[in-house]
Amino acid sequence: MISINPYAALAETISPLAIQGFILAMLGLIVIGTVVQMIHHKNVTYFFNNAKKAKLAAERELGIGEKTSVILKTVVHDIATTAELGAGKRRVAHVMGMYGTILFWVASVVLVFGYTGTGTTAPTIWTMIWHVGAIMTCVGGYWFWLFLRVDVLAEAHPWYRIIKADLFVLALLACATTGLAWSYFQSSGSAGLGYLFLVLFITSNIVLFGGVYWSKFAHMIYKPGAAIQKNLAEADGSRDNLPPLADVPKQFGLGIKREQPKHY
């Protein structure tokens, strides 16, 4: 299963152009959903207003070199390893799910656009990346969903309570899970179950990418932007009006260790 390109087998019954068209349609849905959300939620306006305020409150002006350095550090530290979540299970689960999703999506595009035509065979590495990406998404996502979600950990709600904020994570998990199931049943020759999971895979993709306006999908775009703005504000001294880091006198005693928020 892991070395088989599921899209190549699908291309025997459905035109490769239709599969490629579906991916382009999903990309279109992301763009439309994000733009409509930006207009409605005024995210960009907020960022520009915040940037103006920070510039007025800045204690010193940053050069292009300094700004680039801050942005690069933010990309490597805050965005690539989601440092905001601190050290712990939540960060591990997020990183696993994030990189799993990226691998899953990139491999999907490569397999569909590069290896669904007649006479082409996908290299095993790409089919492996597709499957491993989906598995990583499932591991990180279900770990988060069942145990680490703030509703469960800090609010003590049961894991099966579903709210609107779950649209993104549940649709993503449905994509990865049904994608894996479709690949498995298709490769094992169970045509009926293969088609069933294919339909579910397509449906969950439409929900995931069609629901951008209502879901947390846009956090992938604005969270990196917010991290860059926060670190630039720290560097230029405006710090969103926060006090500077404490220069600790010795008589202040020992520090403490933050506990997990689960004392409901």
Partner: protein, 156 residues
């Protein structure tokens, strides 16, 4: 004004939910970020403001130390044991303060309730709260202040 949350900074970790003494900081059902569900009941006690690891919660400072139009923000660095404050007045003047979270060894003065005597059914169903009346230190009656000790010119 009660607490409010900067959505771009909040990551929905739940520390404010955990610490709020009024149980009014909760997780929004649409975006899974913290939200004050009952602003009228907020004491502005600053517990959530200090507990937030992302400095995503803000509140207006008390009028007795900062007049309107100001900004009062706090940074809690628990690993250093410090609370830092920055007050920015509306004329642009800023004041920075740093205080210790505690000068006593951490955990020394937390009551070990789990090690205390377990209350019986009568005590549980009683109107008295745990350790009452002994814990009130009132010797069985409410304290009183004799009228002749009142300051002259003040009448009740």
């Amino acid at each position: 004004m009660s607490t409010f949350v900067y959505m771009t900074r909040c990551d929905g970790c739940g520390h404010c939910v955990d610490i709020c003494p009024s149980d009014i900081m909760h997780i929004d059902e649409n975006i899974r970020r913290a939200v004050n569900i009952e602003p009228n009941f907020c004491w502005e006690c600053y517990s959530c403001v200090k507990a937030c690891p992302n400095h995503a919660i803000d509140v207006r400072g008390y009028a007795d130390f900062a007049p309107m139009g100001h900004s009062v923000r706090v940074r809690r660095e628990e690993e250093k044991g410090t609370i830092s404050w920055k007050i920015k007045f509306r004329n642009g003047t800023t004041k920075d303060f740093v205080s210790p979270i505690t000068t006593k060894p951490w955990g020394k003065f937390i009551p070990k309730l789990a090690e205390g005597e377990k209350p019986n059914d009568n005590e549980i169903n009683s109107q008295m709260l745990y350790t009452e009346p002994n814990g009130l230190n009132i010797d069985g009656k409410l304290p009183s202040v004799p009228k002749d000790t009142f300051k002259k010119g003040v009448y009740y």
